[in-house]
Subunit: 137 residues, 3 copies
Amino acid sequence: MIYQSAITVPTSGRGMYDITAEVAAAVAASGAQTASCQVFLRHTSASLIICENADPAVMQDLEAWMSRAVPDGDPLFVHTAEGPDDMPAHVRTVLTQTSIYVPISEGSMGLGTWQGIFLWEHRLAAHKRQLLVTVNH
Amino acid sequence: MIYQSAITVPTSGRGMYDITAEVAAAVAASGAQTASCQVFLRHTSASLIICENADPAVMQDLEAWMSRAVPDGDPLFVHTAEGPDDMPAHVRTVLTQTSIYVPISEGSMGLGTWQGIFLWEHRLAAHKRQLLVTVNH
Amino acid sequence: MIYQSAITVPTSGRGMYDITAEVAAAVAASGAQTASCQVFLRHTSASLIICENADPAVMQDLEAWMSRAVPDGDPLFVHTAEGPDDMPAHVRTVLTQTSIYVPISEGSMGLGTWQGIFLWEHRLAAHKRQLLVTVNH
């Protein structure tokens, strides 16, 4: 059996957005007990990560590390027509994930105590991001 | 129901190779309508990414960033017997993906408008790369 | 059909731990012939990779590259309460994988000749790491 549903996440620019509750709702709607859940992001300038969800400073530090490793406006880049943050957004996406897998056990996501699912918006401007959740059970 | 098929991608050395059409053909052959598709690469010196497929400069910039972050011939590396590009190829693979997930909706891949699936050959020499596509529906 | 089982991996601190045999045992127990296998790690300061399993120097070089790219005690980080290796562990996790996909063909994992599955402990101290293996067949 397969369940599939769409999620739209409006972002207000670069940063992490906790989507754990949205994914949990899709899993609950699927009725699955033991299953594999996949969350897929339909974009190339935002990405998905599983990360520590307790201290907001973790998000701040992740962003700081990534901004230093893949700086906006890097003269290395040729693809600059869409702005100084566009090519860095593609690199950040490739270094992280376009899809996230979560196991389902006894009807719930088998995340560890400190694991949350986050959408990482890499563009500076606000965007509407589309996701597809698929549950195989 | 599960469908599985093999794909071989000949590469002519370092660079990205668009395999979206090959994966789409496997999905079509599966007959799946709503499904989960996984593409797996059976190598440790090449990898898979989903990336912007419109401007070839994006590929050029990704390669430029990675070449700077993980330079060939880095004196840091001990594993050099297979050439100056071998250990960098393993690091690049670990920083990207060995498998790519794509959701299937209404018989087609649920990729976003600008998403393509690429094999990233990290070795300088030509290789024959083997992939396995699995569709759970 | 879905099979799920838990694996606990005790680590003795930072480094790679080959878990290929443990995953293979779960796959064998599932009885699956053609299938999708997902290995999920329930932590945010350790991760999973598929990497070359022949030369231990590859692991040493991966660790050396990552230690240079994401140094312990980096003054960039604000989240330092849990030690100088904690925030680097979160960054390393985000740059690698929290789950690994492996296709199953004819009852065995479809890994390439040189591919092994490794748990990468990013913390300096010993930990007990919990994994969940799910096989969809």
